[in-house]
């Protein structure tokens, strides 16, 4: 039996007609993108998974509001970004006092945990993912959207709330900072 893959628009149409089960295809198609973007923001798998599930539930509930004037992924990633910001804001409010100390320790671990020998044994993918995680959430999301999210500068602008030119400049800076991290923590310059 041949399996015909439905387009995003076809899936959405079916879901809006009441075929709830078809939504699983959309979840399956975008779960890695959504999870990665959330993970870049939270740096915690459990939190990223929680945000990811919340994003798909929100998207399902407001699916009738998707007008189709942008790609479904662009619309979905906008929900990811707002959910991440809300999540972080909430979390910051909950744990302000203990956090100051913990953040410092986490930052130190983030820096020192990626030193020399251990990292050099890992693959390039792991190395680049770890370097991205050392960037600020904004830089990390921007790089992920551009390289893995199949989004243009205009679309990223829509998601992040900036104009395309600002996104271009931010992307240059993010890559510059990534290069610094690679050189500082992964002996990048010697490897390539």
């Amino acid at each position: 039996m041949t399996h015909i893959e439905l387009t995003d628009t076809e899936i959405i149409k079916k879901v809006l007609q009441g075929e709830q089960a078809v939504y699983a295809q959309l979840v399956h198609r975008y779960q890695q993108y959504v999870f990665t973007l959330a993970f870049r923001f939270t740096d915690n798998r459990e939190d990223a998974e929680e945000i990811g599930q919340d994003v798909f539930v929100k998207a399902y509930r407001s699916l009738a509001d998707f007008r189709g004037d942008s790609k479904f992924s662009t619309w979905l990633f906008t929900i990811v970004r707002t959910s991440c910001i809300t999540f972080l804001r909430k979390k910051r409010l909950e744990t302000t006092s203990i956090d100051n100390e913990r953040t410092l320790v986490q930052l130190e671990n983030r820096e020192s945990g990626f030193n020399a020998n251990t990292v050099e044994q890992k693959s390039r993918h792991a190395m680049v993912n770890q370097a991205i995680r050392m960037l600020s959430p904004d830089d990390a999301q921007l790089i992920t959207l551009f390289y893995k999210g199949e989004q243009s500068l205009e679309e990223i602008g829509k998601i992040m709330g900036y104009d395309p030119n600002t996104i271009k400049v931010k992307l240059h800076r993010a890559r510059h900072r990534l290069k610094d991290k690679l050189e500082k923590h992964f002996s990048y310059a010697h490897e390539y």
């Binding site: 089960a21 890695q32 407001s62 510059h176």
Partner: protein, 177 residues
């Protein structure tokens, strides 16, 4: 000195790598890459990062992710589209109503000023005299007799009719879709 030249070079090279340069810029950079060793080295360095990022992989959530989402959404329904219950014309109408109110009031206040009160003596003092001392003498009944107020009321009534018409039309469409 090196920083000043490096920054634009990097930006121009990133644009070139991302395919965002114009045709003229593309040709200029290609010429620089052939002639200038520094440009070539920088280009290779940036291209390596670009390739590395391009080949990076997405993280995967747990195996139960899709099932968890489907179990969660089973408790919900798709909410009706916002556009079906928020009529933009009504919002615009309300906005226009308040705008007309503000404009009407501004015109009214401006007509109450004594614009001919100044003379060459003691100009500074008279320039800032906006007739506030006369406020207590203002006859409120005059406010509703002026031509501006009549026009303002007329616009408000017309807009009220427009809003009523929009509301009735919507009701009619809803009754006979």
């Amino acid at each position: 000195m090196r920083m000043n030249t490096e920054q634009p070079m990097e930006e121009r090279l990133w644009n070139y790598i991302d395919g965002l340069s114009s045709q003229a810029e593309k040709s200029a950079i290609e010429a620089l890459l052939t002639e200038d060793r520094e440009w070539r080295e920088k280009y290779n360095e940036l291209l390596n990062i670009h390739r590395l990022l391009d080949a990076s992989e997405l993280d995967a959530p747990s195996m139960r992710f899709t099932r968890n989402v489907m179990e969660e959404i089973a408790r919900f329904h798709v909410a009706p589209a916002t556009r079906t219950y928020i009529n933009k014309n009504i919002i615009r109408g309300i906005g226009a109503f308040f705008l007309t109110m503000i404009l009407g009031l501004t015109v009214f206040v401006l007509t109450r000023f004594n614009w001919t009160g100044g003379s060459s003596d003691n100009v500074a003092a008279k320039d800032i005299d906006l007739g506030l001392s006369k406020l207590k003498n203002v006859d409120v009944s005059k406010a509703f007799n002026g031509a501006y107020i009549t026009v303002f009321m007329l616009i408000a009534v017309v807009m009220g009719f427009i809003l009523l018409d929009l509301y009735l039309q919507r009701k009619k469409t809803a009754a006979n879709p």
